[in-house]
């Protein structure tokens, strides 16, 4: 039984389409609404026990704008599958899969941090790499590579620091 047959058998009853990626790997696309159901089936019926990553692609200006990508590894069969689900650019959100693979919590946090995609049901969805309080999502297409006021949070912190201890650096600024 090939990987494709195993995946298709596991996804019986769930609408999906096989894609033809250029690297010849196995890649399927599903509706965003069936993500938890389909991925639970992949885990329980096709033995994809390991999540490799969760990330996203910004296809701006295409709509639906974001493609959320999952990669899974089966350690018993030594094969991999990729799953994609497209979601719209306006208030993008998708169901979390942290109840299936707890380790995806960090991947989903990073995806939220970089793309602003909200994972419904994630219990600790806050910024991972960028500082808390940052306003923008750096991997979105409209984000300039030099950033938007990259020093704002530091300057605000610096202002509070000066107000706390005005004797320090009194003639600076």
């Amino acid at each position: 039984m090939s990987t494709q047959e195993r995946v298709v058998a596991a996804l019986a009853g769930i609408q999906h389409s096989l894609q033809q990626p250029r690297d010849g790997g196995l890649s399927i696309e599903i509706e965003a609404s069936v993500v938890p159901q389909a991925l639970a089936a992949l885990r329980d019926r096709a033995a994809f026990d390991t999540n490799v990553f969760v990330t996203a692609i910004d296809r701006f200006p295409a709509e639906p704008r974001f493609t959320v990508c999952y990669a899974f590894l089966s350690t018993t069969h030594n094969d991999r599958v990729r799953v994609q689900a497209r979601i719209p650019g306006e208030k993008p959100h998708i169901a979390t899969i942290t109840h299936l693979w707890p380790g995806t919590a960090y991947s989903e946090r990073e995806c939220f941090d970089m793309f602003g995609i909200v994972f419904d049901g994630h219990t600790g969805l806050k910024r991972l790499l960028m500082p808390q309080g940052y306003d923008h999502f750096p991997l979105r297409k409209e984000f300039p590579h030099q950033g938007i006021e990259p020093d704002r949070l530091y300057r605000e912190w610096d202002q509070r620091r000066r107000e706390r201890s005005p004797l320090r650096s009194e003639s600076e600024a």
Binding site: L129, P131, P138, F143, G147, P150, W157, L167, E172
Partner: protein, 207 residues
């Protein structure tokens, strides 16, 4: 500087010693720089090589690297400083006792380097005053040793006694470019200057 012995031999058996306060203070400062290694990326490796036996900055009295900023007077920013790390770097700088000097080691800390990016500070002079910039990616330890020698020359030119009387000059910050244009002339603590300075005008300040 000179050493004189009294001609009659009565005043003192040990002789005495004449020098300038500025000279001897600067001499002490420049030959016992204690680096605070702020190793943020690959420059930190070169910094370790510099402190190690092959390059051996003990030859210039700067080998006493301490990992507490409160024991250091030379901050070496070695590597890529991100905006998220900038708060920590500034806190470390503030915790160092005056007088203190800063070397921006490598192009990342000098200007952001190749990281023309939203997350990287485009030169640490955006957050603290820098005395010397060392180009290189990373610079060889020789280049940083050269910077330490240049810093020693700079310390030689400082006038600690005069500044003690006239008041201190801290780094100049330009709010337009959001950069520190000039490093401080160090004489006295800048953080608590009003407590340690004698009154500069008659009738002004405490008696």
């Amino acid at each position: 500087m000179g050493s004189l012995k009294p001609a009659d031999g009565h005043a003192s058996e040990t002789g005495f010693f004449v020098t300038q306060v500025d000279w001897v203070v600067n001499w002490g400062r420049k030959n016992s720089l204690w680096p605070m290694p702020l190793g943020l990326s690959c420059c930190g490796i070169e910094l370790m090589a510099m402190i190690g036996p092959k390059f051996d900055i003990a030859r210039f009295g700067a080998e006493a690297a301490r990992f507490s900023p409160r024991q250091c007077d030379l901050m070496v920013v070695a590597g890529t400083l991100t905006w998220k790390m900038a708060e920590a770097a500034r806190l470390i700088y503030d915790q160092m006792p005056d007088p203190k000097w800063v070397i921006a080691m490598g192009v990342c800390s000098s200007s952001g380097g190749m990281y023309d990016s939203y997350s990287v500070v485009q030169g640490v002079d955006m957050i603290l005053p820098v005395d010397l910039y060392v180009p290189g990616c990373p610079p060889r330890p020789d280049a940083v040793i050269d910077a330490i020698l240049k810093l020693q020359k700079k310390i030689e030119r400082e006038k600690p006694f005069q500044l003690l009387l006239e008041g201190d000059v801290v780094g100049e910050y330009d709010s337009g470019t959001k950069r520190f244009l000039r490093a401080p002339n160090h004489s006295v603590p800048t953080t608590r200057s009003h407590e340690v300075l004698p009154p500069t005008k008659p009738g002004g300040g405490h008696t």
